[in-house]
């Protein structure tokens, strides 16, 4: 019974260990904690690529989370923290890339394609209607 309890305790805490590490961070206000949460979810881990800072267990992600924590507590704005990361790791760290000529297609490509598709659709419908009108 004792062993079973120990085992259950182990698996429970074993699986929650990474998130526990984060909960050890103390914040001076709940606003700061919320800002921290949203920042580490917005920033991409430079090592693991398809994870954000919040999800990644890699060493550099741990360091960068701590850096975000410190900068928030030092009173840095979100923009300053994002700029700090971009200066070191490039725009790669942003899950939401900035609007620029290089990312134009990324942001607006789908809408352009949708527009083109609609144009083609209207064109096909119009010509079909015209042809039907001629034949009848």
């Amino acid at each position: 019974m004792m062993m079973l309890r120990l085992f259950l305790l182990l698996i429970t805490f074993g699986f929650t260990l990474p998130s526990m590490a984060e909960e050890l961070m103390s914040f001076s206000s709940s606003l700061n904690q919320t800002r921290y949460q949203s920042l580490v979810e917005e920033l991409r881990c430079p090592k693991c690529q398809n994870q954000n800072l919040a999800d990644s267990g890699s060493g550099i992600a741990v360091d960068l989370r701590e850096q975000v924590h410190q900068m928030i507590e030092q009173g840095k704005t979100d923009q300053e923290i994002v700029d700090y990361m971009v200066a070191r790791y490039g725009e790669f760290v942003l899950y939401r890339p900035p609007h620029s000529s290089a990312t134009f297609l990324l942001w607006y490509g789908p809408f352009i394609l949708l527009g083109l598709g609609l144009l083609v659709f209207v064109f096909v419908v119009m010509t079909n209607r015209k042809r039907r009108g001629v034949s009848s």
């Binding site: 550099i60 360091d63 960068l64 070191r88 790791y89 790669f92």
Partner: protein, 169 residues
């Protein structure tokens, strides 16, 4: 005219298909460094060998490499013999002992040889963050003017050295 329009979907398909095809097999781990084209960021680190404070002012004048390594890093063990060869050829390498322990690093260099002109300790990885390092080993090429011109992630070996060397001037 109408015939041509019929081919538009096929043409679009081929264009998109070839764009996607060309992207296949690319190394997605590769990430251009945000530091390329900039000076080495300012730092104050302790030298492993002399215990003295070293700043960016003390960096070599000529072209050199900055190599991040640690005794905890398995790939660094693989890289080490090649770095010794490079040092023998006269390449100046500044080592950054990244998130490591001093005595372990000293043991490593005593046992395996020391290819570094100087080894600076970055115990908490602060300088690593300023350099945009994602792990070890990672190597930066700094040119004569003190500008970072190239970053190599992973082990330096005989295969990739020619590319790295081409930036070292």
């Amino acid at each position: 005219m109408r015939k041509v329009l019929l081919f538009i979907p096929l043409i679009l398909f081929l264009v998109l298909g070839s764009i996607f095809y060309l992207q296949l097999g690319k190394n997605t781990q590769y990430m251009p460094s945000a530091l390329v084209g900039k000076k080495v960021p300012g730092f104050t680190l302790v030298s492993l060998e002399t215990d003295q404070l070293v700043t960016q002012e003390d960096l070599p004048d000529g072209p050199y490499l900055i190599n991040f390594w640690g005794t905890w890093c398995p790939a660094c063990h693989l890289e080490h013999p090649f770095l010794i060869e490079l040092a023998d050829e006269g390449v100046i390498i500044i080592g950054i002992d990244y998130k490591d322990e001093k005595n372990l690093a000293q043991q490593w260099l005593a046992q395996k040889g020391n290819p570094y002109a100087n080894v600076l300790m970055d115990e908490i990885g602060r300088f690593g963050v300023d350099m945009g390092v994602t792990g070890a080993p990672e190597t930066f090429v700094v040119d004569r003017s003190g500008m970072i011109v190239y970053r190599h992630q992973g082990v330096i070996n005989a295969q990739n050295w020619p590319v790295i060397k081409s930036h070292l001037k």
